[in-house]
Symmetry: C2
Subunit: 199 residues, 2 copies
Amino acid sequence: MDSKYLLPIKENLDRFIGNDFPINEIKKSVSDAKIEKYSPNEYFICAGETNRKIGFVIKGLFRVFHTDMEGNEYTKNFRSTGHFMSSMAALLLTAPSRLNIQALEYSEVVCINYDRILQLADQSFLWQYLLRKSAEADFLEKEQRESDLLYYSAQDRYLNFLEKHPDWEERIRQRFIASYLGMTPETLSRIRGKPAPRN
Amino acid sequence: MDSKYLLPIKENLDRFIGNDFPINEIKKSVSDAKIEKYSPNEYFICAGETNRKIGFVIKGLFRVFHTDMEGNEYTKNFRSTGHFMSSMAALLLTAPSRLNIQALEYSEVVCINYDRILQLADQSFLWQYLLRKSAEADFLEKEQRESDLLYYSAQDRYLNFLEKHPDWEERIRQRFIASYLGMTPETLSRIRGKPAPRN
């Protein structure tokens, strides 16, 4: 794999473990990785599908969502350049994915084999540590979102979102943002119509 | 610590790692642990509090819940004999707890110092592996619950709950069960009034 893809992966992993993640270890994990290109609306993962892949977004933006029995969609999160994405529960349970991951714009992804990572972790304290940190981060992301829905008003959630991801509002459809923030598109429109000062 | 407490902890950890967890390692982790007793309604952890403890329930039952700004309570889960409990997000972030853990009945807990576990994990592949498996299980529990709320009807969620925890219905107040299952107490009453056959 072209070494230009290694550096952004290393940057992400360094942040995860709060230390230098050796580039040689990263090379081992991506020895059979592939670069995949996605047009807008193409799926990286479809609900019902069983696969063993983790994506690292080199360029672009994806939406992670559930669809319930009535066909209603629930946006769980978004994944952009420099971040990993997968159907983690499906990987951990070796089960079909319950969620969908769909490109919102033209995107490029390093597609890594999760079983390759598991093999590395079998023998390595460092990879074991990375998988721990990664699972803790996944847990925290969900926990934080759950309690944000309880502790922050719809308006504050929207303002936090803007602050964290200033460019996403232009790149993501209103109804996906509303779904992600746990409000109706009408509530989001109302809030956007009258942005209140933060203080 | 009395060795009678070690065996149930070992049973839990064996299950987590899917293998034999050496009793000597467990002894290291509980060298400064304390046995604590809780009367009904007493708190193991209060929201706003900062602490570094993990509880292992030797006997009894606890409710884990959030309280929102209006004072409404949201039951996240329950922890019973043979299981660990903590405010994991607070431990990971070294921050005040956002959740409460309250005894529902007379309970006994082995109170373990999380920082002791982190020290052990610094030097041990096995403890690193356990922390990874534990974080993955925490993540899966949340993920599963989130998607159960989307994919199962209120009635199916209640029947799954009964099947998984046949004794909890007698031990837990209706309104806590309703909150945990994501329905109003009225919906739960209605469902309980006419239990439908599963097939």
